[in-house]
């Protein structure tokens, strides 16, 4: 009984004190990396290093930054993010990079707004997560979807 009690206390302690801040855009908690999947989206410029909850949040919040940006978007590979760059206002991504943006509720954004190094990696993620109607987006298509004015959906 004592062991169970200690185990519950440890579990509760971990739940209550995770290493998280809040996303500057959506204000929801940042999702930390796990042993199976990277989740932290990092925007770097100058001496700043700012974490976001998902790629969608970065693009929605980009207007506040006037300088060139580098975005480390977590990919399907641990420790190997898809590196996006905004140079003189123009966004670029590595050849073959594919994007997913299919969340309905913002609470799901970290799972469903992501970058992948290839179409094959995208397909595997979509299959593993059993995502229906998920569309593989190029950077331009992703930006078009995310940045279009509110109320112009479908």
């Amino acid at each position: 009984m004592k062991r169970i009690l200690i185990a519950i206390l440890v579990l509760l302690s971990a739940l209550a004190f995770s290493h998280e801040g809040d996303c500057p855009y959506c204000k929801l908690p940042l999702v930390q990396n796990t042993k199976d999947q990277d989740n932290e989206v990092v925007v770097k410029f100058g001496n700043k290093r700012i974490e976001y909850r998902c790629v969608y949040c970065v693009f929605k919040d980009q207007k506040r930054y006037k300088t060139d940006l580098i975005v480390y978007a977590p990919s399907e590979k641990i420790g190997e993010p898809v590196v996006l760059k905004r140079t003189a206002g123009k966004w670029t991504a590595p050849d073959g990079a594919v994007f997913l943006n299919t969340f309905k509720k913002h609470a799901d954004c970290a799972e469903l707004s992501r970058a992948f190094s290839s179409r094959a990696a995208f397909d595997k993620y979509v299959t593993d997560k059993k995502l229906i109607d998920a569309k593989a987006l190029s950077l331009l298509e992703f930006m078009d979807l995310v940045l279009k004015p509110v109320g112009t959906d479908k």
């Binding site: 519950i8 509760l12 209550a16 998280e20 500057p24 100058g46 700043k48 700012i50 506040r64 913002h106």
Partner: protein
Amino acid sequence: MSLLALILGVSTFAQESPRVQSPMPELPVSLPGWLSNRGADALFYKAAPYNWAINRIPAFAKDMYATSVGHAMAYEALVTGKSQELESKTFVTIDRVLKNPPSNPIDEAEISPRFVQKYGYLEKVFDWAHTLHFQTIDVLMHPGWSDTQKEAEIDRLWAFYSSEPYAISGLPTNMEYLDSFPYSGAFRKNYPKVNGLFWGYHWLQTVNYDMLFRVPTADQKPQYALIGQRYHETELYRTDRDFMPMTAEMSPRFARRFPEVTNAFDNLHMLHDNVNDILAQPNLSDSAKQSQVKIAIYRVLASTHRGEKPGEGEPKTLHDHRFPYGMPGMGMMVGSDESSMYMSGMGWMDMSECAHCSIPLPDEGPWGATVSAEGWTMTVRCMMCARDMAAETPGRAIIRAATEDENRLLVMISDEEGNWTSNIKGIVFLEEFGEHPNCSLWSRVFTSRSAFDIFVAKVPELKGAKALSLDQWSKLNYGTPDTYRKLNRPNPYHKDPPIRLRERRDE
């Protein structure tokens, strides 16, 4: 109750603790006689060489003068039956004044004659506390005195202020209790834009003390370029605050040194909120409003709490003078206990800990630094925590930090990209990354290379430590420390997420 439920119940105590709901208060028998005196009593500044030093930063002075115009216009609208115009015509008028602030202090009676006629006793309390606000600023901005002289004078100012019957208590009071009456919250709910302006004024009136406290007068003005911009572009128009800005949140260094002054300002601002709520009640008669305003004044007067002590009192009552551990300059808030409190926009915090690494702030020696960004100010243990906290926050920032010379405060201001400028030329940084609980030893700033060498020579573990220039130090970044613990508890002010968050979640 199951074992798990018992444990969960304990772990979620703060969120399950019900909000205080007090009945409509009745007039106390011991109401001070002057509250029934309709005569004027024009008190004025303590005669002193520092008076009007606020004008040394004209933009700041004008913004401060404009705050009284806004309050007066709104009160006049409320007592002349024009409350339906508050969010439209009155808001536009006030906003125009805020964008074109006056160059001199404004006599509120000129703008709100009907209000002053009806509530002259309240105006005495407001005026006298506003005088303390302004004279404290004047002392801190006076160029002719040392920090020691200024601090002694603020103690004298407090005694001068406290000698009048209109003085507000310097004890911490329970803000949850003071905001628990049937009328509480009506103004912020029904007039969110004007309430946003009021709380924006309170932000400016509370954030300025750390901008000035122990800061050389030459280094005060550059900070206002950033603070004033934030005030005009963001803070005045925020309608998503859960509660009014508290002085200790905005100016924690000043609040630790002058808890009585700080508490008086918060009690004053709470009185403003109470009065707003009372005047915004459509179902209260004029007479009932008069009575409730007098009771609200009574609650915060120093005379009501004579003989009581900080840290004591029955929880969640009028005489609850407890304060969060490490911050005697702030009363208990909704959901708070001695070790944690909820800060609007920042979440749950422990004010006795570093906001970046969660390790307790040192009791002695250099106090570390504060970081101001995005409208908040947080206390941290070391220079590394200050830099990395600013680096992970969008926008410009100010770091105010202790050096080896307690008479020389470092003030650094960053641009949008995190490039820092310093008020002290030739500063040298120590950063020999090690165990975080010791960060205040190995991450420091010195006013000169010789001061760095003297310190390093005294600490064997730092043998061979490299002296870093501002430029070298600025480029380092260790991210969020492993020791950081975010207190993940729900916002005690909302059962549901704030409206702004709900909208974003539904995108």
